[in-house]
Amino acid sequence: MGTMILKLAARNLLRNTWRSGLTAGGIAVAVGLLIWTNAFVEGYMAQMIEGTTAVELGQVQIHRGDYADQQAIYKSFEPKPEMMESIRSVEGLEAVAPRVEFFGLAGTERKSQTTRILGVEVGAEKDVSLLDDAIEKGRWLEPSDQGREVVLGQSLARQIGVDVGDELVVIAQAQDGSLGNDLLDVVGIVKTQNNMIDRQTAIVPLKEAQFLGALGGEVHELAIRTKKPDQAEAVANTVRQRLADRRIEAIGDDGEPKKVGFTVQSWQDLVPEMNQMIQMSKSSIWIYYIIIYLIAALGILNTQRMSALERRREFGVIQAIGMSPGRLFGVVMLETVILSLFGALLGVLAGGGLSIYHAAYGFDMGIFASHDTFSMLGVGMSAHVYFIVTLEGVLQPVLALLPVAILCGLWPALSSANLDPASAIAGRQ
């Protein structure tokens, strides 16, 4: 019996191949479009996160507890080896790099500019950020560097008027109040699309920055790269737990000695506006679902209604010879479900296939942007989006289609089951 119902439903759909094909095609387009969009959004967001975090930020940052209120050169801490070890062993963590960061003046005899001095441990930094990849001219810092090397943001170098091979004077107020200064060699220029780096930053080896700031072995920041971008919050939580009991002796803003802990922030905490935008994009996709499925629903409903109306007489006869209204309801309902599932399958193949293609070769948004890269919220974005296909992104449109299909099938199925067989056979309404 079950196979008979299936056979009836399938053959009825094949009876009007043109109409069924068109409806299934419509469903396929809707499902495929949503799958493709999901993969696009996933890829685009990942790219935004990467653009935000990869260049310099990292996915998680650790600072002294009082650093966030007001960044100051004296709010440093010693990255003790056993503390570093306990951080390094956190699950999902890829690398951790210590940094020193303060403001000073950089320039030549002719021109100088307020500059953010960023001290990095050359070896570890390579694993955490993409600063080394952003070299536009010259070279990146080497572990063998003697400590007099500096890499400048592109706009900063242009403004001061220095280039690779030139000398640069750096002056900064050290944490003890003394004035540190040094003469550095410009070895490289970076261009990142990140305004903070391009316009304001001079990157020097960690030791050099610690010397300029009279920081000894202390640093301001530990930047962490996680294995996957979506692990940021989990890693931040674990690190937070591990550092929870640690306190350092410090001098407060008021000059009184006090104990401070550590602040651990994921990129979501560090750039909340970016996180908000991502969350908003992800939730607003539902509006898109509703619009697309409303259109698809009209198509399904129309097809199934027409095909049920055309068969009133046939359904009357079938009920007259003993098919129960419930079974007839099942047949008509099944037709809609089969049609929708078939359409959904086509949609999965088409949308999934195209998404996989765009995951491998990228999707060129050049049609929307005039440059190959563009800046969004100060973050450099490539116009080439690499899609990310997730099981959820593929299944969600299919699962969301099911209730739509069932709702659309309900009306034709109910009206077929409830028709008056005598009138239907006689051709009366």
Partner: protein, 233 residues
């Protein structure tokens, strides 16, 4: 007890303000094994009466019992189930499910009944052969003539061995020769299986073959004649 007992049946249809009295007090009984016809001019109530007996329609007044069950009181699902197991139906035309083959149409009722596949085949194939459809069992209804389609409908109605087969103008769309052949076939099956046939027609050639003719006029029984032309009711 008679197989069919119709007593005091009235059926009034409402069409807006107008009331149509399709049946106005019909009493008739049919015994098991009869081969009887309902005759009467168009609009006299033949279809309405057959629908009442088959539980496709309910009387405004009166009762209908089939095989001891009060079909006139059953709800839609119950009546459908009752038809499935006790009554075969044949209609004027387009009886068959277009997407199913002659064979699949013929086994349809038994399939609804849940008769196993092998048994269905065992019953349907010889019957299709008997009605002259050998070699056509895989054809779709659209590939069969009107007469051939009606034969499939007869097999479908008969294969599940119901007590009663109701046929509303089964020959209306056929030429007279084909009609006569079909009637002969029905009569043969009536005798072979003992199935009761009640069919309607206005074709005198067809009515000739009935053992009993109940004539309706304006929703009332005008006459009830048995074989030998003697008045019964």
């Amino acid at each position: 007890m008679s197989l069919i007992e119709v007593s005091g049946v009235e059926r009034t249809y409402r069409q807006g303000e107008v009331e149509v009295h399709a049946l106005r007090g019909v009493d008739v009984t049919v015994e098991g094994g009869e081969f009887s016809a309902l005759a009467g001019p168009s609009g006299s109530g033949k279809t309405t009466l057959l629908n009442m007996i088959g539980g496709l329609d309910s009387p405004t007044a009166g009762t209908v019992d089939v095989n001891g069950s009060r079909i006139s009181d059953m709800d839609r699902s119950k009546a459908a189930d009752y038809r499935l197991h006790h009554i075969g139906f044949i209609f004027q035309a387009y009886n068959l499910v277009p997407v199913l083959s002659a064979y699949e149409n013929a086994e349809f009722v038994m399939m609804l009944q849940g008769v196993p596949k092998a048994e269905r085949r065992e019953r349907v194939v010889p019957m299709l052969r008997e009605v002259g459809l050998e070699g056509m069992i895989d054809r779709k209804p659209s590939e069969l003539s009107g007469g051939q389609q009606q034969r499939v409908a007869i097999v479908r109605a008969l294969a599940s061995r119901p007590k009663l087969i109701l046929a509303d103008e089964p020959t209306a769309n056929l030429d007279s020769e084909t009609s006569a052949d079909l009637l002969d076939l029905m009569l043969e099956l009536n005798q072979e299986y003992g199935t009761t046939f009640l069919f309607s027609s206005h074709d005198e050639l067809v009515l000739e073959r009935a053992r009993r003719v109940v004539r309706l006029r304006s929703g009332q029984i005008e006459s009830d004649q048995r074989d030998s032309d003697e008045q019964v009711a």
